[in-house]
Symmetry: D2
Subunit: 202 residues, 4 copies
Amino acid sequence: MRVHSREVEKTVYRKLAERGVELEDIADIVLEMQLPYHPHLEFDTCMESVKAVLSKRELQHAILVGIELDVLAEQNALSEPLLSILREDEGLFGCDETLAIGSVYGYGSIALTTFGFLDKQKIGIIRKLDNKSYGKVNTFLDDLVAAIASSASSRIAHKQRDLEEKLLDARPDGEGQTAVQEEDKAGEFDPLLREAGENAAS
Amino acid sequence: MRVHSREVEKTVYRKLAERGVELEDIADIVLEMQLPYHPHLEFDTCMESVKAVLSKRELQHAILVGIELDVLAEQNALSEPLLSILREDEGLFGCDETLAIGSVYGYGSIALTTFGFLDKQKIGIIRKLDNKSYGKVNTFLDDLVAAIASSASSRIAHKQRDLEEKLLDARPDGEGQTAVQEEDKAGEFDPLLREAGENAAS
Amino acid sequence: MRVHSREVEKTVYRKLAERGVELEDIADIVLEMQLPYHPHLEFDTCMESVKAVLSKRELQHAILVGIELDVLAEQNALSEPLLSILREDEGLFGCDETLAIGSVYGYGSIALTTFGFLDKQKIGIIRKLDNKSYGKVNTFLDDLVAAIASSASSRIAHKQRDLEEKLLDARPDGEGQTAVQEEDKAGEFDPLLREAGENAAS
Amino acid sequence: MRVHSREVEKTVYRKLAERGVELEDIADIVLEMQLPYHPHLEFDTCMESVKAVLSKRELQHAILVGIELDVLAEQNALSEPLLSILREDEGLFGCDETLAIGSVYGYGSIALTTFGFLDKQKIGIIRKLDNKSYGKVNTFLDDLVAAIASSASSRIAHKQRDLEEKLLDARPDGEGQTAVQEEDKAGEFDPLLREAGENAAS
């Protein structure tokens, strides 16, 4: 019998929580990544974007697979030498990034470069997960969190543009506005962006 | 001044037409690729899916870049040795696939494997474009058409599943249905699928 | 303690054999894929190319991870709903392709399109693995075999070109040769190609 | 008539120089990226690695295409709206990253994450290229330089490991060494690494 998507999504939320990742932690990263480009961006918009990307099958499946491997490595329930490779988070092992990247692609090249940046800089919860002192194996999880955060960041960048253009279209003198002027007024767009956000998760 | 997305989309439609690619040709490929999985799939649903993927920035930009290079090669307006490489559609040149694939990733791994298949099998309009007797350079265009068709195919596969699950949820005995039974009833879903399709382009 | 690469490679060979995949089966696919382009290509050259791509870390790691997941699914040792998804080889599950594709990219866009083709057409051993009547879970393995075969195919295409150019350079009238003439003489290159092959695995 | 690889490679070197990119500038980035992991890494090893990755077809072709588009944009020789998009280096335009990334994949996931990092941080020559005050269009070039640098960095990481393992194998008590001890002795490996480097470009 086929597994229902609702079942998959519910498990994804539960597993992230069990492994110590709160959606708020991820939204924090998104806010930090996008604030330089959208100075009036609010936390709730980031949170909404995190939930929206978590509704995608490709990312849900990657999370299930990655967390499963982390947990099995923690329980010494994998065969060697894979077990040692995962427990050590061996530097040249790339399947964790590969799996994560597969789900990032859906949000374009901004998502991909943000992922690379987060993978190197390990901001916020990603750094905590990478810290072995927690006594856990998070070889896959830190990359998965980076994937969620970078996808959500890219989604905001694209949605923000869509919104700016819609507002531009609504002005009588719309076409004559320059990029600089639009930038200055970015703050005005936020209430609308939040509104758009509520409908964008589906 | 920043270019408006509407301008980009309009140009994409015009350029495809100028290069001899009708959206109907692409929808034909989509229908051929997805019919084995969804026997009641209709042409209009495929057409709608083609338009939906054409609304994505990543793909629009790839189309603008690829067609530009084809046209410039045709006019001998590129420097050597790039000019010869494009005019010969040199077998080991991979930038055409790379550019096209970048926009395919957004629709998941089904899109990617469908792209690989179309790139080898060259179905319908893709074969015509690959045929040098037209006296044109279509080094990038055939891959771009394969990218549109494979993205639209994958989008249908995912939407069809969403729809099946929604119907399943609506039944009183929904959860007890087996995969085989769902398959048998796939035809019943089509009217709803078309309806869903009309709202999915945004 | 860090795992030695030699240990990883040895395990990869052993696991493939345990799962019923002989390197000869993969070389058969490579031969079938490349014969149309290099009519004098020999089986031994394909076999050498399979071994060469199997020496790459990225692919080795993907094989270890993929086979581990297949085996654990067979033993019902994964949590739900991942277990059901893998046991059913659920059509919209894409982590198997994603993992495999990550290792294919190293051999360029020819490798990627060949992978897509093999994933759809399921030639030779790939079809056998896909056949559920074997009572095994090969959700990841069939894609991994397609990854090995497509990487090895692309490697041959690139090496063949290198060789042709070296031979062309060695001729007094080298630069005047056309592509057609080179194609006709492709058979003459094979002994040299095999020789080159022996040194290329490292 | 088919273009000879030698011709392609020569043009790549010439075009990079014409656009103000010295290979030394790229080697500097590689050194900065890899020094934290290999404290005794020398500039010459980085330079050799840059040349090695520049010998790959996939990357060479990407460089030819990208620089061609930059130059044509500078000369206003592209059609609209592509011309404006390239001249503005429009933030949501991703074909530059896509083209560059296609050639990065060949060096594994380390290369990909390094690329993402460089794309955001814009170290050294990449920052200079990104600086519009030069009066040039470098929309593609900065990403191409990041692609060369990240590929060369990843290649060093992999070769360094190969070398460490060879040295480990040569010791009578080799298998008992821990990762920490290897790290401490990394400096000793450098002369050999350089030697290996000289043979690795082909």
